[in-house]
Structures are given as structure tokens and as C-alpha cells.
């Protein structure tokens, strides 16, 4: 697996969420994803970026353009924050569960919109969510 390009974006404010949406869209277009895939990736990115800002107290997004050995291309997005972390990951991944004022669809919904989904979090240790979508 090769990394063709990578970049880090800051996530501090609600304007940053908009910037991240636009950046992720531009990357998805460049990698050659179709319109529906672009929309799914950008929507998942928007949900996860908002989680980073709202619950993680801000953090970063690392974008990676990946090329598998067989030539398949994909986009990986890693959202990292140093926030309070998630105590009960299993519940956090359930539709409708929220500790805030949202709808509780951010994590569970973006998991459905992407091909790969990994989450790493513990109380006091921050949260890292890594998602990827591969070109068909």
C-alpha cells in the first residue's frame, strides 16, 4: 500500500468543518470517485469533523490518498482529538445514542457511508476515528 499524497487540516470551529467538507470533496473528485461516492464521503467527513469540534474540543483531520498494491485507489480520513474520549464505545456506535444535543447518527451513520471504519478511544485519552472508502 502506498500513500500517494497526504495533508493535515485543523478542526477548531464550525467554519473549519465547512473547509474540511470542501477539501475532502476536492480530493474525492481528484481521486476519481463518482458523484454518489463523493457525497457519501463528504457527508461522513462532515459528521466526524463536527464530532471532533463539538465533543473532542477540536483536533485534526489527516487525509491520505491510498493506492493498494493491486492498484485500487482510496481515500482515508483520520480524525484525531485530545478530548475527553468515549467511555462506552459500543453505545456510542448505536443509532440515536448521544451525550450531546445531536441526533446520535454521526458515528453509526458515517460507518455505513464508508467501507472501512475504525475507532480508538478511552476516557482521558482522546479519540481517533479512521475511515476509508475505496473506488469500485
Amino acid at each position: 500500500m502506498q500513500v500517494r499524497r497526504d495533508e493535515v487540516a485543523q478542526l477548531r470551529s464550525s467554519e473549519d468543518i465547512v473547509h474540511v467538507r470542501q477539501k475532502v470533496r476536492a480530493w474525492a473528485i481528484e481521486i476519481g470517485f463518482g458523484l454518489v461516492d463523493q457525497t457519501k464521503i463528504v457527508t461522513a467527513a462532515s459528521e466526524l469533523a463536527r464530532n471532533t469540534v463539538t465533543y473532542g474540543g477540536g483536533g485534526t483531520l489527516q487525509l491520505r490518498w491510498l493506492v493498494q498494491d493491486a492498484g485500487r485507489q482510496g481515500l482515508r480520513l483520520d480524525f484525531t482529538d485530545e478530548g475527553p474520549g468515549i467511555a462506552d464505545l459500543k453505545r456510542a456506535l448505536t443509532d440515536g445514542f448521544t451525550t450531546g444535543s445531536g441526533l446520535g447518527l454521526g458515528l453509526s451513520g458515517s460507518r455505513r457511508l464508508m467501507n472501512d471504519f475504525e475507532i480508538d478511544s478511552a476516557p482521558g485519552k482522546g479519540t481517533r476515528v479512521s475511515v476509508a472508502r475505496w473506488k469500485p
Partner: protein, 131 residues
């Protein structure tokens, strides 16, 4: 300072969202629209989202909130112009937009509003409906 314009068309308010909204702007639109329904006495709200490239759970919640608030204020809300890719993504995301009426485009949205308004009036004044 960003602001989404709200236009008055007959008995309805028309909003066309043309920018990628940040969250505060979405909340502001919700507040502005609620205030305008009260100050104008509008009976219908038409929200055109044909320029929106995504609808995530935050914007989805704003649309559901606007529909719920306008309903409490005796106005109907119709969301029009959702792009196909947005509709596919919304369903997969798990967002149901409960209580939000939708129509394919502005023309059909206005038709729907007019029908709802007529049904509403005949319900309140049965004599009028038979004339």
C-alpha cells in the same frame, strides 16, 4: 456577515440555500425563519435545497426543526429540490426527516403548499369549501 435571504411570495416564505452553511448559519436561518413566520403571518414555507451538495445530520435536524416550529405557528413547510445523491446518502446515514414534507421542485412545492392551505381552510370553514 453571512445571512440567508428570506423572500415573501404571496402567503408563503421562500428560502433558497445557495451556500455551504456552517452550523451557526443554519441555526440563524432557523431563528430568522421562525421570527418571519410570526411577523408576516405566512401560511407556508418553501425551502429550496437544490444547491446543497450534502445534507448531514445537523442540516437535517435544522430542516426538521423548521418544519416542527412552523407547524406550531400554523404554517406548512415543504423542502424542495433535493439532489439524488443527497437523497441516497441521507437514507444510508439513517436520517428520516420526520414531519418534513418534500417535493421534487419549486413548482410542485408551491402546488403542495396551496393544496395543504385549501384543505386547511375547508377544515376550518366547511361552508366555504362547498361554494
Amino acid at each position: 456577515m453571512d445571512m440567508i435571504p428570506i423572500l415573501r411570495v404571496g402567503d408563503a416564505l421562500l428560502v433558497s440555500i445557495q451556500v455551504d452553511m456552517h452550523d451557526r448559519l443554519a441555526v440563524q436561518l432557523q431563528d430568522d425563519l421562525t421570527a418571519r413566520i410570526v411577523s408576516s403571518g405566512a401560511r407556508g414555507v418553501l425551502i429550496d435545497i437544490s444547491a446543497l451538495e450534502i445534507v448531514d445530520s445537523f442540516i437535517g435536524r435544522m430542516l426538521a426543526n423548521i418544519a416542527a416550529m412552523s407547524s406550531v405557528l400554523d404554517a406548512h413547510t415543504v423542502v424542495v429540490g433535493m439532489r439524488p445523491a443527497v437523497a441516497i446518502t441521507l437514507v444510508e446515514l439513517g436520517l428520516e426527516l420526520n414531519g418534513v414534507s418534500t417535493a421534487l421542485n419549486v413548482d410542485r412545492g408551491l402546488e403542495l403548499l396551496n393544496r395543504q392551505l385549501q384543505a386547511h381552510e375547508s377544515l376550518h370553514d366547511p361552508a366555504d369549501a362547498s361554494s
